[in-house]
Subunit: 562 residues, 2 copies
């Protein structure tokens, strides 16, 4: 019982409330999932299971973790695999026994894998056979004491792994009884460790707590956010190894929504099949996935009649894409976040002054903004002096956020942690402006903003506009050094299958962009390339472009040397 | 910075997460309300204000509280008034300065008012002039150091109050500057003190924390719960002095919904006017309010076309009422809770297996159940041995709940606190059964269940059925002692304006109930009364009926003495 402070004591003190000290941990969410929502189904490459069936399997998996794999509270348990039911089971079992699930990105380079597994100190590693060969040539995984294969495949690579590989289903089959008791985990205990994609330097670990995941899950279910309900079936094509699968493995069970996991096949035909077969109502993925699905939607080969909403993140949604889906009655909603923000921090929804039923141009203009910081979090934009800028819809500065599902530090990285924080606010590295109603728009990554003659040009906005060009399939804009303007934008584009002579030129690009961006934003050069370099999570790797082209900037700009 | 536990230490320990320790306090919600939702409006007897305007007034009110009224952290500040903008301002200002808002029910009897004001130790009392006369004859309010009148009126009663009464708007006008800084309040600090209605014994104080109110507000906004959004305008006719106004003063600003406060006039004409003038989308009140509004809806004198949902609590919603509103396209949703549960703990929504679009009989059958415990809370039903009963849809026991917005104790009442808890679960005093999907139905208050021949009869269900009888306006069912069956039900009914000879009789009641309840549930006697006795919050006062009729049970049952 909490003690009660009496009036009249010398130092005024707050009166403690008398509500239950129930910790915000995943355990109660799990209990609800397997009982109240026991009939709801989860589909994956392994088949279809109810939450009740998964609850039983997860409690056996908890016993496997503790008794067979010697996982103790605080231990890190890594996964290296795609979206599957087994991966989902680990999302639950590992935190339930008080350990920490470390989701390793299967697209990392070998040295990054070795670095983060070593940095995390992973004791057990669960991997998919399909990507076993990516582990075989990684030095420095000796710290891992137990290897478990989640999905079949990769037999040829197994002999390169030490120690002996154990099979997920064999371990589970050998353990018919659920764990006796789960530990009482405090709400600030770590549950999930996810490293940032590391476009700058080595990846950094974000250590999410039970509390932050719990709050994030409830926030996702708010009607003004993703509005998940027990009537939904969610298809997170965003990988479970990336930013916690946008929190869907916890948010869906929080309210009883079903889940569909696509394995490693995110090609449009499979996405269309899963949506049709499982009557998916909510999709979550980067814009590329939806762009690739569009032809099937248009040809009638994809039936999206059950889909009520598509949440798009990772990069800005091109307006033509949102309009194309809108024409089929599907609401495409921009979300924003990063590994450090839980990950969901912002949803672009019509504001009260727009009205609930805003449509057409007015709606798409709203969708082009990033949105409003989620209820429960706070956002501000700070200028170069570190002071918050006015909410005037034009002053650009760095976006900073704070709140109970925002990272306070990186795991075992005191220097990186200090750099990332500013008076308790997380620096996002995104440049944005804020409107008077708190709606913000991210105009670019801080490091990618093109500074031309003291003004800024958004590379992201130019890229979005370029993708609307009929002869351009992919595009990247980089600011390269310019003797007069400091920097000027250069567009690198991939031609969209047109023959010689029909490739995009600087003239055709300028003509196309004329009514879309300010004249002084027009890129000074357009370079047709075979491919845009991307990072392990599919973001444009501008480091590579800058390194390759910086020395040739004068040539691109037609400036004579000397 | 949280320290990190290394592997290999002797005692295995949880790894602390590294997320921001942002406290779940009302301060960040307030900041969001007055900025991001600054344009949203709140209407009340005092006029219409934006959240931005109220934010400015509330920060001045904070200064008034601290500098003029000497309110310190932990102090209790009482209100005694109806639903108004000023009352809403106190809901915010008092917790923001770290003090505790104690909402006193204006319908309490004088001895109860004196008892709870004394028990709470209220330092300041804000009251509406309209109810000043209810305070004038209350002895034992000497503990109150400052009296402030929120609304005009009651001038005649003012001289009976000591010390001198100050005027709310005068205090505010004398303080043009906002408070300089608000204290850093920990999340478990008390924010709100509300006493139970006390149908059994004296009222008991529930001391809600910032954390519990924050979580409750977010939960109310979940799409599967009340689904409040920034597009809503909420009319809580439930009084702000009753169960925290069902949490609406915090839940609406949490997501940017507007609010309408009706003052003391809850007559149908005023309710209809407010809905029309302020384009209300969500109503929240006991069934009686909606029953009284129905004739206006039917005659076209009430325009509810903006209303998307009506949340009904306090007692079970009679099916004919839900059907009547459903016929006008308005979804009437049963909610359940009590002061000790935050107060919202359950919402009756269609489950996944019913489908999102269930309509007609199937929908109304769902609405007759109490619902599912809200995400974030847990519920169970326990039998007489204290063990949880199976979820079989028939075994009746006491409903128990637990979770982060459930009371752990009563304020300064160790004995009451112990009685109310059972292994960390709150005993609700309600008898219920639980279905296999976790849907429960409350069949009666534990003390009101009629025990007949070893079986139970629900007085609540009989009352609901009786209210459908065309000649019955109000009804109460009480179990009275019976020599053969232990107890048998007796119906006390108020006739609905019919002339002599058309009053409800035991025969007409039996005929009417024949296809609605089991034969052995039929009340053995029907007594026509002028009025059903009610408690201060409008619940049937069965204590009074039992006391008056117990001795005459034999007469009612037609049993000869001796």
């Amino acid at each position: 019982m909490t003690s009660v402070t009496e009036r009249g004591t010398e130092a005024p003190a707050f009166l403690p409330g008398l509500m239950q000290p129930t910790p915000l941990v995943l355990h109660a969410v799990f209990e609800r999932m397997r009982t109240i929502y026991g009939d709801t189904r989860v589909a994956g490459p392994e088949g279809v299971f109810t939450y009740a069936e998964l609850g039983e399997r997860i409690l056996r998996l908890c016993r496997v973790l503790v008794e067979e794999l010697d996982v103790r509270p605080g231990d890190r348990v890594a996964t290296f695999g795609f979206n599957s039911v087994r991966h989902f089971e680990l999302y639950w079992a590992v935190p339930l026994v008080g350990a920490v699930l470390h989701t390793v990105n299967v697209r990392l380079f070998p040295e990054q894998i070795a670095q983060i597994v070593g940095h995390a100190g992973d004791k057990v590693l669960f991997f998919d056979g399909e990507v076993a060969d990516r582990l075989g040539d990684v030095d420095g995984l000796g710290i891992v004491e137990q290897w478990v294969r989640m999905q079949p495949g990769g037999d040829a690579a197994l002999p390169t792994l030490t120690p002996e590989v154990r099979e997920y289903e064999d371990l589970l089959a050998a353990c018919p009884d659920p764990i006796g008791a789960l530990p009482d985990v405090p709400e600030d205990a770590a549950a999930n460790l996810c490293y940032t994609s590391g476009t700058t330097g080595m990846p950094k670990g974000v250590l999410q707590s039970h509390r932050s995941l719990w709050l994030h899950a409830m926030a996702a279910c708010m009607a003004d956010h993703l509005a998940l309900t027990q009537h939904d079936t969610v298809l997170p094509i965003v990988p479970l190894f990336h930013a916690c699968g946008w929190g869907m493995p916890y948010a869906a069970p929080f309210t009883g929504a079903g889940l569909v996991f696509h394995g490693s096949d995110s090609f449009p035909a499979n996405v269309a099949r899963l949506i049709r077969e499982h009557r998916v109502t909510v999709g979550a993925a980067v814009p590329t996935i939806w762009k690739e699905l569009l032809p099937l939607l248009r040809s009638g080969d994809a039936d999206l009649s059950t889909v009520r909403g598509i949440y798009v993140g990772g990069s800005a949604t091109p307006r033509p894409l949102a309009e194309a889906y809108g024409a089929h009655g599907i609401d495409m909603v921009q979300i924003w976040g990063m590994t450090e923000t839980g990950p969901l921090a912002c949803v672009s929804q019509p504001r009260r002054h727009h009205g609930r039923d805003v449509r057409g141009d007015a709606l798409y203009a709203i969708k082009e903004k990033t949105g409003t910081i989620m209820s429960g979090l706070e956002a501000r934009v700070v200028g170069e002096t570190g002071e918050a800028v006015p909410w005037d819809g034009e002053t650009v500065g760095e976006l900073e956020v704070r709140g109970p599902w925002i990272a306070a530090a990186y795991y075992n990285d005191p220097i990186g942690s200090v750099e990332k924080l500013h008076d308790g606010w997380l620096r996002t590295g995104d440049m944005a402006w804020m409107e008077r109603d708190g709606t913000f728009r991210i105009v670019d990554r801080a490091k990618d903003l093109v500074k031309s003659g003291g003004e800024w040009i958004s590379s992201v906005e130019l890229e979005g506009a370029l993708l609307g060009h009929p002869a351009i399939r992919d595009a990247a804009v980089v600011g390269l050094p310019h003797p007069k303007w400091d920097e000027r934008p250069v567009a690198f584009v991939v031609a969209d299958g047109h023959g010689p002579g029909q490739e995009p030129t600087v003239e055709s690009v300028h003509a196309f962009l004329a009514d879309k961006v300010a004249k002084w934003w027009l890129p000074d050069a357009v370079v047709v390339v075979e491919e845009i370099p991307k990072t392990s999570v599919g973001k444009i790797d501008k480091k590579v472009l800058r390194a390759a082209w910086e020395a040739r900037a004068g040539e691109l700009f037609g400036i004579r040397e000397g």
